[in-house]
């Protein structure tokens, strides 16, 4: 008696479904749920953030319990469960970055953008996000803009990054 929900093929364009299928094909038959992370990434790339409908669609498509998809999506900080701006700046505040001054990175960014961690600028251009270790401790402090790493940050470098972001 489940209320009919749109299936994934209605929510995503054909090429997205094709690339999810490609990821599914990498795993043995019956292990399609191994492709859940790829599917979430692809869905997010197309839609900007992960809606409940998209996650449900992925769960049904991969024949796994919906809660299991929520678990994955809520665990990794690169999945956005709320609407985000055009660009997402993810600042690492884990141990290495913290020791190298990530607090001042966050402070500078907050001041420049006028938003706190987890918020989006009023023009919907930039979302500032705090994330766990991104594995670039050698270049701490670091941040990621969309899918690009920027390491060894200084205030000047941050300003350059911000200036370079397209509207």
């Amino acid at each position: 008696m489940a209320k009919p929900e749109p299936c994934l093929t209605e929510l995503l364009p054909q090429e997205a479904i094709a690339s999810i299928d490609h990821w599914i094909s990498k795993y043995p038959p019956g292990r399609q749920q191994s492709a859940v992370m790829a599917a979430l990434t692809i869905a997010q790339d197309h839609h900007g953030w992960l809606t409940e409908k998209l996650m449900n669609g992925i769960a049904d498509y991969l024949k796994m319990p919906r809660i299991a998809v929520y678990e994955v999506a809520s665990f990794y900080s690169m999945y956005h469960l709320e609407p985000v701006g055009k660009h997402v700046i993810s600042v690492c505040t884990n141990v290495s970055c913290m020791l190298c001054g990530s607090d001042s990175v966050v402070e500078h960014l907050s001041k420049r953008l006028g938003v706190k961690l987890g918020q989006t600028t009023s023009d919907s251009l930039i979302t500032l996000k705090e994330v766990e270790c991104l594995g670039a401790c050698g270049g701490a402090p670091m941040l990621e803009v969309d899918k690009q790493y920027h390491e060894n940050l200084t205030e000047q470098k941050i300003d350059e990054i911000l200036a370079g972001l397209e509207k």
């Binding site: 409940e52 319990p65 809660i67 766990e132």
Partner: protein, 778 residues
């Protein structure tokens, strides 16, 4: 076998056992939170760290398999230090709210903290706070207390087979919940209350009502399905506070269905019948027991004298105790009445002489787990016998059993059956005969002529092959089948299938004590009417034992009409309401679950006696006492019992042969099915099966009880011009019932799924009979 040593004690263990299992068996206690013997090993709480010789670090006892010569120390300084450190970590975020926590006094965390916790925490920062999700009317959440043992999550995946809870978020933000707000709807969800080692998941109906140490515990038997799960009733000052499972490996393991766990809440209903009541000149008045017995003697005696015993009928609910049923039929037979029955939903009595001594199974529940192939006919086990479904699921998932399900309605499944076939009532018996024909052919025998015209479809062929080839097989008839107008025809085909294979099996029944009722003789004598005839023909007097005719009989409309017309309708029950007043003439208040001693016989043939846990409220009395006194008032011999033990001993003494659940061969041609176009199909609504359940408010609020719809497949709906989600109305012999349409393509053409017993369904009629359906303009 390997030899290991735990705390200096030499022990033998099975290869592959975990240290904690061996320690548990030997009575060495190791603290733990996430480990549970019925669930998979998660090893995420780390509380069970122990020291093992030659391993440099402490290891979790729940996830470390034993090895020959292993020396384990559970209390060495190193083990203690590890355990204390883990305890300190677990308590970092756990609130110190034991005084206002329902788990206080029976909390695993509290207990273990007494032994392993420090008196002061080194953690002085703020504790985390978690928002509590709403997960339905049965379970309260207080997720700040959660220590992330994930027992509840694993229970959903591994036992309930429906993953509703999960651990979302990460690190400090991790929390257990449903993520999006939704209720937990499993029919066995209450078990996570027991599993939760802290006060994060607690019983909502019991919440804040008692402390563990204030209550006494009385062992009893659950009263809602034919398994007879073992329970403990927790009692404080003469009041039942809650019901919890009692371990019984052969029946309910350590689990309990929500129906058995929460039904006690119906005992405190405002609609309890607390005083004998008599209707005189259209007015109801409360009277004393003496008066009501005298009233019955006069009225019933008068009718027996003037109209004869064939004008009196005795009907009893199959969840009555064996003692009540035995005494009721003894009373009836003492009065020369042969109209006696407990089979309230049965329509087909054509081959009654082939009935077994009692409806039941000839295999144990652990046998069910180890079956290799199964044919299950007309059963929605998850909603009918929830704990039997756990065993079936284990057979399918762990044993790879090939399960063939044949139904008229789509069963709720939490495992992958080998095939899941839906047939219309009209095609049902022939569908099973296809399996029979395939069996004959596979065995190289010539099938009987009647089977010539049948085709053997692939599912029938495969089912027959599995039943023949697999070593352990069973054929089980669900309780639904007993409601059908061709019950005996279907049962005979099932019997023949069993006789051609080595299948064990049998049939399931409604209520907790159908087997006891059959054994006690609560069935019509040869000259007497069965339940169907009693309620289709107007008799002058009826005795209804534990029955609300609106929900507990096959044809509620006809039953209520006839009860109203009868000169005397005696209602003996735990509950009543204003509709009872319209048909009854006398009401006798009876003790309910936990308020009387008695015996249930389950579908495995086990006689399970129990004592009362509390006294019944008001003037209500245990059923057997009512009957004992009524027997004396009616001046019948041998009604001077002083306990239920005497009654059950008398019944036992009267049984000469070993009782059997085996069906006997039927003679003559069976009643076969001649159905019309649109036919009603359905099963009994989960939380509507007896008066107690119907008054258990928390269960009435569950999704299982609030969402009833009419099911049709798409082509039938299309032919009738109806669409999914549309408002419609259905009618059988009585009034129209407004409902909502739910397209269910698993249904056969012309099958209309409308369940039995939900609020409102009393205006409908018999199952597998014609039903009318039409759209309603919005």
């Amino acid at each position: 076998m390997v030899n290991i040593e735990i705390d200096g004690i030499s022990l033998e263990a099975e290869q592959g056992d975990m240290i904690i299992e061996v320690a548990d068996a030997a009575g060495v206690s190791i603290p733990r939170f996430c480990y549970h013997h019925k669930l998979s090993v998660a090893a995420n709480c780390r509380m069970c760290l122990v020291e093992v010789e030659n391993i440099p670090k402490a290891v979790p006892a729940c996830a470390t398999p034993v090895a020959d010569g292993m020396k384990v120390q559970t209390r060495s300084p190193r083990a203690r230090e590890a355990q204390k450190s883990v305890m300190e970590f677990l308590l970092i975020n756990h609130p110190l709210d034991c005084p206002i926590c329902d788990q206080g006094g029976e909390c695993e965390l509290q207990d273990i903290a007494m032994g392993y916790g420090g008196d002061v925490s080194q953690f002085s920062e703020g504790k985390r706070v978690v928002v509590d999700p709403y997960i339905g009317p049965l379970i309260s959440t207080e997720m700040t207390r959660c220590i992330h043992c994930t027992r509840c999550v694993r229970f959903g995946t591994e036992v309930a087979g429906i993953r509703e809870l999960g651990a979302t978020g990460r690190g400090e933000n991790m929390s257990i919940g449903t993520f999006i707000e939704k209720s937990v709807d499993s029919e066995i969800s209450g078990n996570i209350i027991d599993l939760c080692p802290v006060g994060a998941l607690t019983s909502k109906p019991y919440r804040f009502s008692a402390r563990a140490w204030e209550m006494g515990q009385v062992p009893s038997i659950a009263s809602h399905d034919c398994l007879g799960s073992h329970v403990n009733i927790h009692v404080r000052r003469g009041e039942i506070m809650r019901v919890v499972p009692r371990d019984c490996e052969t029946i309910n393991e350590c689990w309990l269905s929500d129906r058995d766990r929460f039904s006690y809440t119906g005992l405190e209903s405002k609609q309890r019948l607390l005083q004998p009541r008599i209707k005189e000149k259209g007015q109801w008045k409360n009277v004393e027991w003496q008066d009501v017995f005298e009233h019955i003697v006069t009225k019933l005696g008068g009718i027996l004298e003037s109209e004869g015993p064939e004008q009196v009928g005795f009907l009893a609910h199959p969840s009555s105790t064996t003692e009540e049923l035995y005494l009721l039929q003894k009373l009836a037979r003492g009065l020369k009445v042969e109209n006696i029955d407990y089979r309230l939903f049965q329509q087909d009595f054509s081959a009654q002489q082939s009935d077994p001594d009692y409806p039941g199974l000839d295999l144990t529940l652990s046998d069910v787990e180890s079956l290799d192939a199964m044919l299950v006919i007309g059963a929605n086990l998850r909603k009918e016998q929830p704990l039997l479904n756990i065993r079936l699921r284990k057979a399918a998932q762990e044993n790879g059993a090939a399960i063939t399900l044949v139904n008229t309605i789509s069963p709720d499944l939490n495992y992958e059956p080998h095939s899941n076939v839906l047939l219309s009532p009209q095609a049902f018996a022939d569908g099973l005969r296809g399996i029979l024909k395939a069996l004959y052919l596979l065995k190289g025998d010539i099938p009987p002529e009647q089977l010539n015209s049948l085709n053997v479809d692939s599912w029938q062929q495969v089912c027959a092959e599995k039943l023949l080839e697999s070593p352990n097989v069973a054929v089980i008839l669900g309780a639904q089948v007993s409601d059908w107008p061709n019950y005996h025809e279907v049962r005979e085909v099932a019997r023949l299938i069993r006789s051609l294979t080595s299948a064990s099996g049998g049939e399931l029944s409604w209520g907790a004590n159908a087997a006891g009722a059959a054994i006690a003789g609560m069935v019509n004598g040869e000259s007497g009417f069965n339940s169907y005839e009693m309620l289709e023909n107007t008799l002058q007097a009826y005795v209804l034992w534990g029955i609300d005719p609106r929900f507990d009989v096959a044809d509620p409309l006809q039953a209520v009409t006839n009860l109203k017309q009868a000169a005397l309708s005696i209602c003996v029950n735990t509950h009543y309401d204003e509709t009872t007043e319209t048909w009854a003439d006398v009401m006798l208040p009876m003790a309910g679950f936990g308020e009387t001693s008695g015996t249930y016989v389950n579908c495995l043939g086990n006689w399970q006696s129990f004592t009362g846990a509390v006294n019944p409220p008001g003037e209500a009395r245990p059923g057997w006492k009512i009957l004992r006194v009524l027997g004396n008032f009616m001046q019948l011999n041998d009604f001077n019992y002083t306990s239920t033990t005497e009654v059950i001993d008398e019944l036992r003494g009267s049984i000469c042969n070993k009782l059997s659940s085996a069906w006997k061969a039927q003679e003559g041609t069976p009643h076969s099915y001649s159905g019309s176009e649109l036919t009603r199909v359905g099963t009994h609504a989960l939380y509507r099966c007896d008066s107690l359940i119907r008054h258990a408010v928390p269960l009435q609020r569950t999704k299982d009880n609030t969402e009833h719809s009419v099911g049709l497949n798409e082509s039938t709906a299309h032919r009738l011009g109806l669409i999914d989600g549309q408002k419609i109305r259905v009618r059988q012999s009585g009034d129209w019932l407004p409902m909502v349409l739910d397209i269910d393509n698993a249904l056969a053409d012309n099958a209309v799924r409308v369940d039995i017993g939900f609020e409102g369904s009393e205006v409908l009629g018999l199952i597998h009979k014609p039903i009318y359906i039409e759209g309603v303009s919005e």
